[in-house]
C-alpha cells in the first residue's frame, strides 16, 4: 500500500532527516514548516497521514489538528511532541488524533504507527464508499 505523509514541524533539520528515512522505505513525504503551510498543502493534495508537531510558532499543533479534522476528516493525524503535556495530550486525543507520540520517537515505532494510521484511513474510506 502506498502511503502519502505530510510532515509538519518548524524544525527544518528534523523534517529533512525524518523525510529521508521515510523515503529510504519508499514512502513519500511532503514537508511543511508551519501549520499554515501544512493546511495550504492539504487544500491541494490528499494525504493519508499527517505527522504534526504540537509546539510550533504561529498556529500551534492543536489548532492545526482542529482545522485538519474539519478540512479532511478522513486523514489521520499523529501528534508529535517534545514536551509531555498531559493536558495537550488529552486535548489532542479528544480532538480525534490517531496517536500522541513523544519526541524523540523511535523511528520504527513511528513507522509502525504511520502504517496503522494509514490502514485506518483506508478502512474509513472504504466504509464511506459503502455508505
Amino acid at each position: 500500500m502506498e502511503i502519502r505523509i505530510l510532515l509538519v514541524d518548524d524544525e527544518a533539520d528534523f523534517v529533512e532527516t525524518m523525510a529521508k528515512r521515510f523515503r529510504i522505505r519508499k514512502i513519500t513525504v511532503a514537508p511543511a514548516y508551519s501549520g499554515v503551510e501544512a493546511l495550504k498543502l492539504m487544500d491541494e493534495q490528499d494525504f493519508d497521514v499527517v505527522i504534526l508537531d504540537v509546539r510550533m510558532p504561529g498556529m500551534d499543533g492543536l489548532e492545526v489538528l482542529r482545522q485538519i479534522r474539519l478540512k479532511r476528516p478522513l486523514t489521520e493525524v499523529i501528534m508529535l511532541t517534545g514536551h509531555a503535556s498531559l493536558d495537550a495530550g488529552m486535548q489532542g486525543m479528544n480532538l480525534g488524533a490517531y496517536d500522541y507520540v513523544l519526541k524523540p520517537a523511535d523511528f520504527d515505532e513511528l513507522l509502525d504507527k504511520v502504517r496503522r494510521a494509514a490502514e485506518r484511513k483506508a478502512l474509513n474510506v472504504r466504509a464511506q464508499a459503502k455508505g
Partner: protein, 332 residues
C-alpha cells in the same frame, strides 16, 4: 356475532384466582367477559356430546355454535392481546422519551452553569476595562497595564468557554468504531508515557503490569487511547503527592480487561452512581468539566464493552474496562 353480555359479577375469590392464574389485572366486567370466552365453548362442546345421543341435527347445530363461539373468543383475545402490546410499547417509547428529556434538561443546566461563570468574569472585566479607559480619557494619563490585564483575563475566559464547547462538540460527535488489530499492552504503555512526566513532578509512581503475552484485540485504537488517558489523568488528579497509580491488563478467552487503580481519596458512596453523568465533577470550576468519564462510558459502550468502578472511600478507586475479544454479528 357479539360476545354475550355479562349478567352478574363473579365472586371476589374467583376473580382473584383468575388474576393469579393468568397474571392479568383486569376490572370486574372484563374479567367476566374473559371467563365467558374461556368457559362457553367447552360448555357448548359438552352439550354437543350430550345432544349427539338425543338428536343429531341438534348436535350439529350446537357444534356449529360452539365453533363460532370459539372463533369469536379467540379473535377477541388476540385483539385484546395486541392492544395491550401496543399500549405497552407506546408506554415504553414515552418512558424513553421522558428519560431523554430529563437527560437533556440536566445537560443544558450543566452547560449553562459551566458557561455562565466565565461569562460573568468576562462581563466584569469588560466593564472594568471601559471604566479604566474613560478615566484615562478624563485625565489624559492612561494606565494601560491594567487595561491589558483585563483584556488578558477576558481572553483566558473566552478560551475556557471555547474549551467547554469543544469538549461538548466532541462529546456529541458520533464515533463509529474502526476495528484494527491493536497491541493493547503497547497502547497502554504509550499513554502511560504521556502521564509519566507529570506524575514524576507530583512524585507519583505510575506502575504498569502488562503481561508480555497479552493478546492483540480487534478494537478502535484512538478511542481506546482516549479512554485509557482519561482514566489515568483522573487517577493522577485524584492522588496526593507521593501517591501510586497502577495500570494492569489481563485477558481470558472472552475478554480483555484493563484496570486503572490509585490510592487517592476514593469516591464517596453517594457519588458512585453519578460519576459517569455528564458534567458531574467534584473539581473546582475551571479545572474539571465532568465530561471525561461520561465520554469514556460512551466510547466503551460503542466498543461493546463495559466500564465500572470500585472504590472504598479513603482507599482509592479502581476503574475497570472490559472489552469483548470476540465481537458478535454485524461487526466489520
Amino acid at each position: 356475532m357479539s360476545a354475550p353480555r355479562p349478567r352478574a359479577s363473579l365472586p371476589q375469590s374467583a376473580r382473584l384466582l383468575f388474576a393469579t392464574a393468568t397474571g392479568a389485572r383486569l376490572g370486574g366486567e372484563r374479567t367476566l367477559v374473559l371467563w365467558l370466552h374461556f368457559l362457553l365453548p367447552p360448555a357448548l362442546a359438552g352439550l354437543v356430546v350430550a345432544a349427539t345421543f338425543a338428536s343429531l341435527p341438534l348436535a350439529a347445530l350446537l357444534a356449529m355454535a360452539a365453533l363460532i363461539m370459539a372463533a369469536c373468543s379467540a379473535r377477541a383475545l388476540i385483539r385484546r392481546l395486541s392492544e395491550t402490546e401496543d399500549a405497552r410499547s407506546s408506554l415504553n417509547a414515552q418512558l424513553i422519551q421522558s428519560q431523554k428529556l430529563a437527560a437533556i434538561g440536566e445537560l443544558s443546566a450543566g452547560i449553562a452553569h459551566e458557561i455562565n461563570n466565565p461569562l460573568a468574569i468576562i462581563a466584569q472585566e469588560t466593564e472594568w476595562a471601559s471604566h479604566l479607559l474613560s478615566e484615562a480619557e478624563k485625565s489624559n494619563e492612561a494606565d494601560f497595564a491594567e487595561v491589558r490585564d483585563s483584556l488578558r483575563e477576558i481572553r483566558s475566559q473566552v478560551d475556557r468557554c471555547k474549551n467547554i464547547t469543544h469538549k461538548l462538540l466532541d462529546f456529541a460527535r458520533k464515533r463509529e468504531p474502526v476495528l484494527q488489530d491493536v497491541d493493547v499492552a503497547r497502547l497502554v504503555d504509550d499513554m502511560a508515557r504521556l502521564v509519566d512526566k507529570e506524575a514524576s513532578y507530583k512524585n507519583v509512581s505510575l506502575t504498569r503490569k502488562l503481561p508480555e503475552d497479552l493478546p492483540t484485540l480487534r478494537t478502535d485504537a484512538p478511542l481506546l487511547r482516549q479512554v485509557v488517558l482519561n482514566l489515568m489523568t483522573n487517577a493522577l488528579q485524584a492522588v496526593d503527592r507521593g501517591g501510586a497509580i497502577t495500570v494492569t491488563a489481563e485477558a481470558d478467552d472472552d475478554s480483555l480487561t484493563i484496570h486503572v487503580a490509585d490510592n487517592g481519596p476514593g469516591i464517596a458512596p453517594e457519588n458512585m452512581d453519578k460519576i459517569f453523568n455528564p458534567f458531574f465533577t467534584t473539581k473546582p470550576p475551571g479545572q474539571g468539566t465532568g465530561l471525561g468519564l461520561s465520554l469514556c462510558h460512551n466510547l466503551v459502550s460503542g466498543m461493546h464493552g463495559q466500564i465500572s468502578v470500585a472504590s472504598q472511600p479513603g482507599q482509592g478507586a479502581t476503574f475497570t474496562v472490559r472489552l469483548p475479544r470476540k465481537l458478535g454479528g454485524g461487526q466489520a
